[in-house]
């Protein structure tokens, strides 16, 4: 009997010794990650309605994975049969990534950065997880006002990660786009030389990757990225050359219309409207009839750039007629017709275009711009009564949209249009309220911050409400989405303090 008990006790132990401990760890880690993510997904679904207890539950789940399955231990354990140990390390890194995202959804970007740093330090994170962490970190740094660190982080993404996935043989676009975004920020901050240097770095990486990727599926995208970087640097000839190279790649067939259209756009930017028209015609032939609106719009813009206004008007009219349902192309065509007619002195016809646009696509950003142009035209012409009547009518339209539309973008555009219309008809106090409302509702966005700064300036200069202006500048100094805006608010506060002194 005793010997049977010994066998019963020993055999499972021996069998367990034959099994794969890493496989078991991976399975448990994946299960715990799934469960914690389920809670996190529920939090994301409920948005602001999610309570702190739920957030803590999800965070505890992710933290537990980090504690039970430390990435450093599993990444270096080695000797596993099928890489299961490395998978455990990857799952652990993913848990840290999820913790960062969770902190981000609660607006705690500094804490998120700390978790992103953990992922980037994890030896077994794997390139996909590490790339996500690096992108998230750079964005979080930018949000908390550490612009220089964010720029450095974006530039580092370009050098740390490979631009072509060796397994899928496809371009990892973010690896090339991140430094280009950094270059744009550098340019905005007046550091053009550094921006160009970053772009040249991207171009070198594209060319280096192309040495082995030529003729393969990644080549057209690499050429396109090279073209984008050259264009951003102002080297339009180089950009056109890269796009032509992309068109010559065997894997380019599916992207051909897009590339030809890009060639047209760059030709137009390089002040070669004839070439732009030729490329537009080519892109039109490549596209199916339903997809030809962008090419026709490009042709119309090329006519507008050089040619009699009637040709441009006719080309835009063709877009409107042939694509009555094309939301963006139709709106752009009508708006451009209005501008050309306005410039040519045909105000009645221009107003008719603007009104048609506002009536047919009331939620389009250009429809708001069209309403504003009508009011501003009358105001600029000294027709105060007409400006007031048109303004009241436009405000009515905008208020109706604010009340009926739930789309966040439309809400933002409509509220901005309300403020602009009020400013155009000289109602400064309601305009100030409308701008402040925009800032209060969208503090983390660029339009929200711009509205906040505008409201503060309005209060400071036109309304003489220095207290109100100071309060707004203080809010902006604390909560504005970008470093530049915070710096502007700080400078305004210092100026006000000096004036008082």
């Amino acid at each position: 009997m005793r010997s049977r008990l010994v066998v019963l006790a020993v055999v499972p132990g021996l069998l367990a010794g034959c099994g794969d401990a890493a496989l078991w760890a991976r399975y448990r880690a994946e299960r715990e990650l799934w469960q914690a993510r389920r809670v996190a997904a529920e939090i994301a679904r409920r948005g602001d309605g999610a309570g702190d207890a739920e957030v803590e539950r999800a965070a505890a789940g992710f933290r537990r994975i980090r504690e039970r399955f430390p990435a450093a231990r599993w990444a270096t354990s080695g000797g596993t049969r099928d890489g299961a140990a490395l998978d455990v390390a990857r799952v652990s890194a993913e848990a840290a990534l999820d913790l960062a995202r969770l902190e981000q959804t609660r607006g705690r970007d500094s804490a998120a950065v700390a978790f992103y740093d953990q992922v980037l330090a994890d030896p077994g994170a794997g390139s996909a997880v590490a790339l996500e962490a690096a992108l998230g970190r750079a964005a979080a740094l930018s949000r908390i006002g550490r612009a220089d660190d964010a720029i450095a982080a974006w530039i580092e993404i370009g050098t740390r990660f490979v631009p072509v996935d060796p397994e899928r043989r496809s371009v990892v676009a973010q690896v090339l786009e991140a430094p280009l975004a950094a270059a744009l920020l550098l340019e905005r901050r007046g550091r053009s030389a550094r921006a160009d240097s970053v772009r040249r770095g991207v171009e070198r990486r594209c060319l280096a990757a192309l040495e082995s990727a030529r003729g393969g599926p990644a080549a057209p995208e690499l050429w396109a990225q090279l073209a984008a970087s050259r264009a951003a640097r102002g080297d339009l000839d180089g950009s056109l050359d890269a796009l032509r190279q992309a068109l010559g790649e065997p894997a380019t067939e599916a992207r051909a219309p897009e590339l030809v259209l890009a060639l047209g756009e760059r030709s137009l930017a390089a002040n070669r409207p004839d070439s732009a028209r030729a490329y537009a015609a080519w892109a039109e032939r490549l596209e199916s009839p339903a997809e030809r609106a962008p090419a026709m719009l490009l042709a119309a813009r090329a006519w507008e750039a050089s040619g009699p206004p009637d040709s441009a008007l006719a080309a835009y009219a063709q877009v409107v007629e042939r694509f009555p349902d094309a939301f963006d192309a139709g709106a752009a065509a009508r708006f451009q017709r209005g501008l050309i007619l306005e410039r040519g002195g045909s105000w009645e016809r221009a107003r008719s275009e603007y009104r048609s646009l506002a009536a047919t696509r009331p939620a389009h950003p250009l429809a708001f711009a069209a309403l504003l142009r009508v009011v501003r035209h009358h105001a600029a012409a000294g027709e105060r009564e007409l400006a007031r009547i048109e303004g009241a009518r436009a405000l009515e339209t905008v208020e109706r949209l604010i009340a009926s539309q739930r789309d966040r973008e439309v809400q933002l555009e409509a509220r901005r249009a309300r403020a602009d219309l009020l400013l155009a008809i000289g109602r400064e106090r309601p305009a100030f309220d409308a701008l402040r409302d925009l800032w209060t509702r969208y503090p983390a966005t660029r339009p929200g911050t711009a509205a906040g700064l505008e409201a503060a300036r309005l209060a400071e200069t036109r309304l003489g409400d220095l207290g109100g202006a100071r309060a707004l500048y203080r809010q902006l100094e604390e909560r504005a989405g970008s470093t530049e805006d915070r710096e502007q608010a700080r400078a305004a506060l210092e100026r006000l303090a000096k004036d008082e002194g």
Binding site: P12, L15, A16, G17, C18, G19, D20, A21, L23, W24, R26, Y27, R28, E30, R31, W34, R38, A41, D82
Partner: protein
Amino acid sequence: MSPLEQVALAWQGLVRTARLLSRPGLWVPWAPLAAAQGLVVLALWGFAHPLVSWFMAPLLRGVAGEQALHYPAALRAMPALYAQADRAIAAVLAPVVVGAATALFADAFRDRPPRPAAACRLATRRAGTLVLAQLPFHLSAGALAWAGEWLAGGPHAAALARRAAGPAVLGGTLVIQSLFLYVAALVVIEGLGLRAAFAALPRTWERGFWAAVTLGAGLLLPPLALQQVAARSIRAAEGGIPELTAWLVVAQGVTGLLGTFVLSGGATLVYLAAIRRSDGGAPA
């Protein structure tokens, strides 16, 4: 016996067997079957545990691919993997269990005290015959299922064929099952050998085919309903509760066991009442 009488007798068989569900003695032969199915579920559910992973991981990798070793893909693959294992159990172990159960049901319907040990010994002695006698049913049902999948899944399949494949396979399986339903009774109650049992089968069709169809159809409904739930549960698993799929496999196993218990009892009663009674012995 007319078809209508057979249908009535089949329902009586189902009802009378259902009343026997609470008799523990009748469950004795089913224990090994339940244990085998339980072990399969446990091995699939806990395949990654070091106690079993040394043989389960290579097995799953070979059958369902590397992805089946990850959570929650492992649980999503579980119904299909369990079905494969269950087919093997149904072909090898279930005929012996049904044989022992048939002997026990025969005693119960004759108001004799159940002798589980004797019934199990008898079925074990006749295990080879019982397994081989049920083999044509398993092979034909397997071939039919394969044909159905081929018909519905191929690129050549017309929409009508796709829609008709499922019901056709179900109906075909029901007919094949009805043709072989009384084979266990012939082997265990009459003591016939393999050849004699097959030779006696046509007479069972004359007297009990419609009863067999009724028994099979009556017991197909609960698993079918469960299959519908299982299909929905797999969608639910995508949404966040992968364990639900595993619990449904357990529920499927339990329902299947109960169904086979009632089917065996019903078939034994029909055999005793309609097929055997008509000439006082085994159909020649």
